[in-house]
């Protein structure tokens, strides 16, 4: 961990803002630094350090081998449970086995349509997420620094935030001109709340002494906002961006129920309608995997913004 002075630790616990049943997202926030992504450059420098510091590499390799082993063990248990038709309180009799899911996956990977599903979903997520980033950071900063804004906006956030994405489907269809915009709206909503809340949290925590220092150096309100409030909130904002990306994928399926043709959420929903169990699991795991990758990409992209945090004595 970094050893920054106590008054600059704006990072302090990102607000967990996932949808109520979005427990996996809440965990993202708690993991914090320990689980930040590794850039290729870092991987190289870890390898270089190997010669000098075999300990660091060992720890790195150990951590990853534990993760992969844990996943492998999970798959094996799944395979075993389906193979013996495990049925004791939890019923695995009709659950497709990992082998069946893998076979279905391999078949899909060879079809062009599968890639269209993925591309369409990614485009929706991208547009919805980017809109949420813009609006969320803006609203979050305003809420964090203005009492009036907070009193006006936060009741809306508090009431709207617990509403699950599925519940929005009818209104989204009524409100937006096209099917596509309704779907994007739902992914947008998912990302919006975590971003607003984390940004507001970070902006509230701006150390007072830094604002006073900036004032005595001659900064006006705008300059204080730009040079002090925003950078101080960055650790929290970036945490919100990562969580928001996860929740955006979390909401995707609900949005794509509206869609009549494409999207990985639609693919999953369609498999459900056709009672094609292996495909359902393929769709679920695709959403999980793409969500993880996108979150990782967000973390990588926002890392340079926090380089000052990692450098310490």
């Amino acid at each position: 961990m970094n050893a920054s002075p106590p008054d600059t630790q704006a990072t302090a616990g990102a607000v967990a803002t996932a949808a109520p049943d979005g427990a996996p997202e809440a965990m993202d926030a708690a993991e914090g630094e320990a689980d930040r992504p590794v850039t290729p450059r870092e991987a190289v420098s870890v390898l270089i350090a190997a010669a000098l510091k075999p300990k660091a590499v060992k720890a790195f390799a150990k951590s990853w081998s534990i993760r992969l082993t844990a996943l492998a063990v999970g798959v094996l248990i799944w395979q075993w449970a389906t193979a013996i038709n495990f049925n004791y309180f939890i019923n695995f009799e009709n659950i497709p086995s990992p082998v069946k899911v893998w076979t279905a996956f391999v078949a899909h990977v060879q079809s062009t349509e599968f890639y269209i599903h993925i591309a369409v979903s990614m485009q929706r997520i991208f547009i919805g997420y980017m809109s949420a980033v813009g609006l969320g950071i803006l609203l979050g900063l305003v809420i964090g620094r203005s009492r009036l804004a907070r009193d006006v906006i936060s009741p809306y956030i508090e009431i709207l935030r617990p509403i699950p994405a599925v519940a929005w489907i009818p209104l989204a269809i009524l409100m937006w001109p096209t099917e596509e915009s309704s779907i994007i709206y739902i992914t947008f909503l998912g990302a919006l709340f975590p971003i607003i809340l984390n940004t507001a949290h970070g902006a509230e925590l701006t150390p007072d002494v830094l604002i006073r220092a900036a004032k005595s150096l001659g900064a006006n309100r705008r300059e204080i906002f730009w040079h002090v409030v925003i950078p101080a909130a960055l650790p929290s904002i970036t945490a919100g961006l990562a969580i928001g990306m996860g929740v955006s994928w979390f909401s995707l399926l609900a949005g794509e129920i509206i869609s009549g043709q494409y999207g990985i959420g639609y693919f999953t929903w369609n498999a459900y309608s056709l009672i094609n169990y292996p495909d359902i699991v393929v769709g679920m795991l695709m959403i999980g995997g793409l969500g993880t990758l996108s979150t990782y990409a967000v973390r990588l992209a926002t890392r340079p913004l926090l380089s000052w945090q990692r450098r310490s004595r």
Partner: protein, 290 residues
Amino acid sequence: MIANIINLSRDKDASAAAVQAGKNLSSEGKGHVTIEDVSVVFGAGADAHTAVESTQLEVQPGEFLCILGPSGCGKSTLLNSVAGFVQPSSGTVAVDGAPVTGPGPERGMVFQQYSLMPWKTVRDNVAFGPLLAGQSKSEAQSIAYTFLNMVGLTRFAKHYPAELSGGMQQRVGIARALANYPSVLLMDEPFGALDAQTRLMMQENLLRIWEDFGTTVMFVTHDVDEAVFLADRVVIMSAAPGRIIDDFRVDIPRPRTTDITTDDTYIQLKRRCMDRIRSESLRAFEQQNH
């Protein structure tokens, strides 16, 4: 690090430009602080608490003034009224005839807490003031290097504050305040969090910079040794409500080094401070018991 401080603070050529500018300020007689009958009351009604009571204080251009007093007696409050962070409930504060209405770069502030922007490099922290004052980026950076040189930290220009020790961060804080060529330098227990050894070096370093730069300094401390060692003049504040109870000159020749701590004048003045503070604490103690 020790060698670093001594070396670079004597490297006068390199900081000649800054020194010249500083001299200009003091030769124009700038940095004249007048505190007229200032009271600061926090809270209202039954909760009202007088932190500073009808205080009168004049600081001459180029003077090094120490405000000495026990914790909680209102030293920071008085200094903050000069900095512009606190509005006096009555009375006026003026610097060079201009009433203080808020913080400003002509009154440089060095805080007790670490107050560098953690996301700016050491250089960019120091360049921040000049940049805000409208200097170009390259001008601001060259000013930053001049002042980092003065505090002996050019080597750390590209580092982030978290990579520096507490003492180094405070030196950057001093460089940052000076980079605006302030007519008054306000320092609120800037070395309070440092260990004794580092504190001594910081004090010597500060005196050298001030002797070169010649700006008015108002330095708050609760440490008697520190006050007598640094100051041209010491004012002692008493607690609850805070007011000035003693005001005397320290006629010890400069440049001063730690050797003066065995000097007779130094010891006498130190005793005077301690007696004054002790009798005042006793009085306060007895007042509380009646």
